[in-house]
């Protein structure tokens, strides 16, 4: 009898503790789901908006934080007169209501482009601009599309005349006097940057002083637009509220901020799936260039952006930049080994990613699910995700949906 009792007790003990062990290791105990190691807490804090530093200075743009430049930049951003058909502004592709993108696989201005519109969220924190990083400042990026035939399709000379005619007082208040150019000394079709032979011939026929003056106005247009665009920043999303709740050990608030699938997705995102190798920091980007194994249709990406930014007259080291050479570190120490970057594109931010399909450099995928299943299939060394299950991919998708909060902009 004592033997029976002892065995029974031992068996019951085994059942209780053993079962407890199984349930803790398997399905997540509701009490356990928000438990993070100190190491993990450090990582999730680094992804939270509370880790986003104040807007970084842009030494190449002396007007980056000038309130009047912000105001002018906003007007220019929405002004459709800066286009060949009078119908295209920056906001044609960067639609504020759509997180400053356009829902299209390939951007559409005067014509259709070869790449998707990039999100502008937190752009001020980036080192390189465009999918191939062919620009090294926001102001220099802003003037790129203006002379691009399938985008705005006008010239810098045309823009200079437009500023003289329509924005004289606002411009001079910020940047000083405007050049005294006429349609004769500066034909509106003159430009070295459109790829058009007639435009180039007209440009070369202009006096060097006039060309320089027009370039100066053109750069200043970019500097004003950049002063506005750099203020497009994310506000806290459910994920940020979740991190705050976890850090102050508030289980109820953590539950409210993120569902169990999203929490599991976050665990995968920073752990097994290693997404933070590239999507790091509060903007979920390393601002670097990676070949993720996507079919890039002859688009060599960063491999072609390197020479373009080095030879750009509007780069950080150029005469229209306000920076001292020692402030142009990214450009001076650029990795110029093109062979490493064929088919590499800039890591975009994941802030609000679920709100703004389609995805990738040419809108190759319509949904986040497609993106995640592609990552698992990819054989690229820079995207090793073959070990993820369907269920895990969907949990990561649930997590990505928690990165949508409101945007803040002037």
């Amino acid at each position: 009898m004592p033997r029976f009792t002892l065995l029974t007790v031992a068996f019951m003990f085994f059942m209780i503790t053993g079962m407890g062990g199984v349930s803790m290791a398997g399905d997540k105990d509701p009490q356990q789901i928000h438990q993070w190691s100190e190491e993990d807490k450090k990582v999730i804090r680094s992804l939270s908006l509370s880790s986003l530093p104040p807007l970084p200075p842009d030494p190449s743009n002396a007007y980056a934080d000038n309130p009047k430049a912000i105001e002018l930049g906003k007007k220019l951003f929405f002004d459709k007169r800066f286009s060949a058909n009078g119908k295209v502004s920056c906001a044609t592709c960067h639609i504020p209501e759509y997180s400053f993108t356009d829902r299209l696989a390939l951007a559409r201005g005067m014509g259709t482009n070869t790449r998707r519109t990039m999100p502008l969220i937190g752009a001020a924190y980036q080192s390189w601009f465009f999918w191939d990083g062919r620009k090294d400042s926001l102001w220099s990026q802003a003037i790129g599309p203006i002379e691009s035939p399938p985008e705005h399709g006008v010239t810098r000379s045309y823009c200079a005349h437009l500023i003289i005619d329509k924005y004289k007082s606002e411009y001079t208040e910020i940047f000083g006097s405007l050049p005294k150019v006429t349609h004769k000394s500066c034909p509106p079709k003159a430009s070295p940057g459109t790829g058009n032979a007639v435009a180039l011939r007209l440009w070369k026929a202009m006096k060097p002083g006039d060309r320089d003056a027009v370039n100066r106005v053109y750069a200043n247009i970019g500097k004003a637009i950049a002063a506005y665009v750099r203020r497009i920043v994310p506000s806290p999303a459910p994920f940020d509220m979740y991190v705050e709740a976890v850090l102050r050990n508030d289980q109820a608030a953590a539950d409210r901020a993120m569902g169990p699938d999203a929490v599991e997705g976050l665990r995968l995102f920073i752990g097994k799936a290693k997404c933070t190798n590239c999507h790091m920091g509060p903007l979920f980007t390393d601002s670097g260039f990676h070949n993720i194994g996507i079919d890039y249709n002859e688009d060599k990406g960063r491999a072609e952006g390197i020479d373009k930014v080095l030879s750009d007259e509007f780069n950080c080291l150029g005469k229209y930049s306000d920076a001292k050479p020692e402030q142009c570190g990214e450009l001076r120490f650029i990795d110029s080994d093109k062979s490493k970057y064929t088919g590499s594109f800039k890591t975009p931010t994941l802030r609000k990613v679920a709100d703004r399909p389609p995805y990738m450099n040419a809108g190759q995928f319509k949904t986040l699910e497609e993106v995640l299943f592609f990552y698992r299939k990819s054989s690229s060394k820079e995207a090793e995700h073959q070990n993820l299950t369907d269920e895990e991919l969907l949990k990561i998708e649930a997590f990505l949906k928690t990165l949508s909060g409101p945007l803040s902009f002037p």
Binding site: R3, F13, T17, G20, G21, D286, S287, F333, D335, K381
Partner: protein, 154 residues
């Protein structure tokens, strides 16, 4: 009889304990990689002797804690094995992540020789957390040698 019961109880309790172990997180698989990180703490020192023993090299980072994904600079102090400053070295630099098979996102270089055996290295940038190897190739006094620093960035 009692002794036998005791043995059974010990076995049963041990089994219970083992069933609990995974749940307690005691057992965890160590990550496998092609190249293993050096285990010895000394491998992560900021002062290292070059491969052939020609130079003793010390780095200091500005900021002091090496940042992740941020452009910054290092100062390099180069001495001979007996501690004499090496004032005329030609130095090249490169960094890699052996576990990931990629290098730095920049091409850093020595931009200033202070003339007292210290050198300014600009353009340092480590794109992600983890184990990095930074290699300096040093040429001075007709000798060439290289030194490798290991970094654990977090």
């Amino acid at each position: 009889m009692l002794k036998k019961l005791g043995v059974i109880l010990v076995v049963v309790l041990f089994t219970c304990f083992m069933a609990l172990v995974p749940a307690m997180g005691v057992v965890s698989a160590s990550p496998k990689s092609a190249q293993e990180r050096p285990a010895a703490e000394s491998a992560y020192s900021k002062t290292m002797v070059s491969k052939e023993g020609t130079f003793k090299v010390t780095y200091t980072s500005d900021p002091e804690a090496v940042p992740v994904n941020k452009l910054h600079s290092w100062k390099l102090k180069v001495e001979t094995a007996d501690g004499t400053p090496v004032k005329d070295a030609e130095i090249t630099v490169g960094g890699t992540m052996p576990e990931h098979g990629h290098g730095m996102p920049t091409m850093p270089s020595v931009t200033k020789n202070y003339g007292d055996g210290t050198y300014l290295v600009e353009g340092m940038k480590f794109s992600m957390m983890g184990w990095w190897e930074v290699n300096f190739n040093i040429k001075a006094g007709g000798k060439t040698d290289s030194v490798t620093f290991n970094l654990r960035l977090q």
